[in-house]
């Protein structure tokens, strides 16, 4: 178990370092930063001043290590656009994105898992086909379009939910629903196929031969074995939701990290871009690590590795 943990930690660390390097490299590859910071009307002299002031005249390797060194202690520098510390900027927006992501995942899981299980137990029957069809339609639906439809129906026509902003928990319901649509099909299909495989396994026949109740066979013996791929994909989906909610945050005017990423990219605010990329990478890595640990709890064979 300890070995398993150490190995996973090492992998997580390597992934983080790689992403760190890429985040740094990509921003430097998008043109001369000094020119874009100085603005369109800057003279050659201004640009040189800017270059010196931001340390862009240093060799790349020096810039890289000084950035990493500061990033380690949470100092991502000053945002060029907001004139605020990047860390303050990000941490003021992170709760919104986290709330949105967790609400989205919560909705996705509570819809996809039961439907997946029902689908698997009724494999090939009408209810299974209907569920698969609905999942397919859900997957094919563009999220901005779904967002607008929900805003018009639930928000404007019925007046049940607020259509933009972050004031109350109700504000997160609609964006959460839209976000969950991206995760439901994958979770549902994995749950379904995992349950179908598990229910056909020899140990299920044993469980039936033991006279266990249907409930215990499905929820205890089959579900635990079907859960592992679902846990892994759920972690990836959550990561995707946290990093990929740009459209939804924009449509619903939720000023979260996704919205910030979009803004800073379009404004060439590269300290912010770097920090956001790094943050999302770390979150991704942590989620994967969390999924691995959860799987190790579910499957004793993993612990033995």
């Amino acid at each position: 178990m300890v070995q398993f943990l150490l190995r996973r930690l090492l992998v997580a660390l390597l992934v983080s370092v790689t992403v760190l390097t890429f985040a740094f490299a990509l921003t430097r590859l998008s043109g001369d930063l000094a020119i874009s910071i100085a603005g369109p009307n800057a003279t050659a002299n201004d640009i040189e001043v800017v270059r010196k002031a931001y340390g862009l005249d240093q060799p790349l390797i020096t810039q890289f290590f000084s950035w990493i060194g500061r990033a380690m202690v949470g100092d991502f520098g000053q945002s060029y656009f907001y004139r605020e510390r990047v860390s303050t900027l990000i941490f003021s927006r992170l709760p919104i994105t986290l709330t949105l992501g967790l609400v989205g995942l919560g909705i996705a899981v509570s819809v996809a898992l039961p439907l997946g299980v029902i689908s698997a137990l009724r494999e090939g029957r009408p209810i299974d086909r209907v569920i698969s069809l609905v999942a397919l339609v859900g997957q094919a639906m563009p999220s901005f379009w779904l967002a607008l439809v929900l805003m018009i129906t639930l928000g404007l026509n019925l007046g049940w939910l607020p259509i933009s902003g972050t004031g109350t928990w109700q504000h997160f319901v609609m964006p959460g629903i839209v976000l969950s649509f991206s995760a439901i099909p994958a979770l549902l299909r994995l749950t379904r196929s995992g349950m179908i495989d598990a229910m056909a396994a020899d140990y299920i026949r044993t469980a039936r031969a033991k006279g266990l109740s249907r409930m215990s066979i499905v929820l205890k013996h089959a579900a635990r074995n079907a859960a592992m791929p679902v846990v892994s994909i759920a972690a990836v989906q959550l990561g995707f939701m946290l990093g990929g909610s740009i459209v939804i945050e924009t449509v619903f005017a939720l000023h979260g990290v996704g919205f910030l990423a979009w803004e800073s990219i379009s404004k060439n605010d590269f300290p912010t871009v770097q920090a956001v990329v790094l943050l999302l990478a770390v979150i991704y890595t942590l989620l994967t690590l969390g999924a691995d640990l959860l799987n190790a709890l579910l499957d004793p064979r993993l612990r033995a590795q």
């Binding site: 396994a201 020899d202 140990y203 026949r205 044993t206 469980a207 039936r208 031969a209 033991k210 006279g211 266990l212 109740s213 249907r214 215990s216 013996h221 635990r224 074995n225 579910l298 499957d299 004793p300 064979r301 033995a304």
Partner: protein
């Protein structure tokens, strides 16, 4: 004579157009081992699954009657069947490697049988589990309770399966090729264990096997199955001494007997293949492979008595067969 514990009267099992078992009857007495022999696909495993009510959804099951301790099983609903399974009748399988759930400890999987059928505390169920692990001769049972299936060898897992089957002291144990997947030395141990348990606990065992060596060592009574039918039933000594049905004779000739076989002699074999049997199939399913086949073998085949408890399904009279 007391009534048999398990009494199957003319069982039919079908899968779509195919007929897997046709009018199979057999009886298992208390405290005895009844072997069901036959080649792969002859319907012996599905017969066992039908008794347990564990047939796949696409299977159809019919029988004149199927009684367990006098209780009719046909028409019993899933809930009532699940009360019997694991409690009064238990089953172990051919695949010890995959028959235990990889995600739960041995102790937890054993305990749940007790908790389901008898209730009581988890502690008491685990104590019972440890006691049975010792009974199937697993060393340090207390430690094994906390282990997961992947930590055990195939032989150990099959012992765990047996111990688990015994949790509620069943009257009937159905063992479907329990030693086929195991090493030869382990096979012998498991068979001896089953025989000892039978003596200790008065278990009735329905043992499914294709191995006549296993039959000779363990059975009291034998039923030979061919293409979904029980073609011969006899006490074990009688079957080996006076096999009547041509298929039984063919099977026995496939087994080399020490002292009778000289090096270089070919082993016996039965020419031809098992026919595909659909519902409308008529006549003897063995007739294309049979040396003694006659034109009337395509008609209705009678079940003939040879001796008390020894009958066979063949057109040919005992007297003609004995001399054949």
């Amino acid at each position: 004579m007391t009534a048999p514990l398990l009494e199957i009267d003319r069982l039919d099992i079908g899968f779509g157009p195919l007929s897997a078992v046709r009018g199979a009857s057999l009886q298992v007495r208390r405290g005895e081992t009844h072997c069901l022999v036959g080649e792969s696909g002859c319907g012996k495993s599905v017969t066992a699954l039908a008794v347990m009510g564990l047939l796949a959804r696409n299977a159809t099951r019919n029988a004149v009657s199927m009684r367990f301790d006098g209780q009719e099983l046909m028409g019993l609903d899933e809930k009532a069947m699940s009360r019997l399974r694991g409690d009064r009748m238990a089953m172990i399988f051919q695949e010890p490697m995959t028959s235990l759930n990889p995600a739960y400890t041995v102790g937890s999987q054993m305990a749940e049988v007790m908790l389901r059928h008898r209730g009581g505390t988890r502690r008491a169920a685990l104590d019972r589990a440890a006691e049975l692990l010792a009974k199937v001769r697993i060393t340090s049972p207390g430690m094994r309770l906390g282990q997961y299936p992947h930590q055990l060898s195939g032989g150990l897992r099959q012992r765990v399966m047996i111990a688990m089957a015994l949790m509620c002291s069943p009257e009937l144990l159905i063992a479907d090729e329990p030693t086929t997947a195991l090493d030869v030395t382990v096979q012998a141990q498991i068979l001896r264990l089953l025989a000892d348990l039978q003596k200790d606990l008065g278990l009735a065992i329905l043992l499914i096997t294709h191995d006549l060596g296993v039959v000779a060592r363990t059975a009291h009574h034998v039923s030979v199955m061919y293409a979904g039918q029980v073609v011969e039933t006899a006490p074990v000594a009688d079957l080996f001494a006076n096999p009547m049905h041509p298929y039984t004779r063919g099977l026995l000739s496939c087994v080399p007997v020490p002292g009778k076989v000289r090096p270089g002699d070919p082993l016996g074999s039965i020419p031809g293949m098992v026919p595909r049997v659909e519902h409308a199939f008529a006549g003897c399913a063995f007739r294309q492979r049979c040396d003694l086949a006659r034109p009337d073998c395509a008609g209705t085949i009678p079940r003939r008595d040879f001796a008390p408890g020894h009958d066979y399904l063949c057109q040919i009279e005992p007297a003609a067969l004995v001399t054949a």
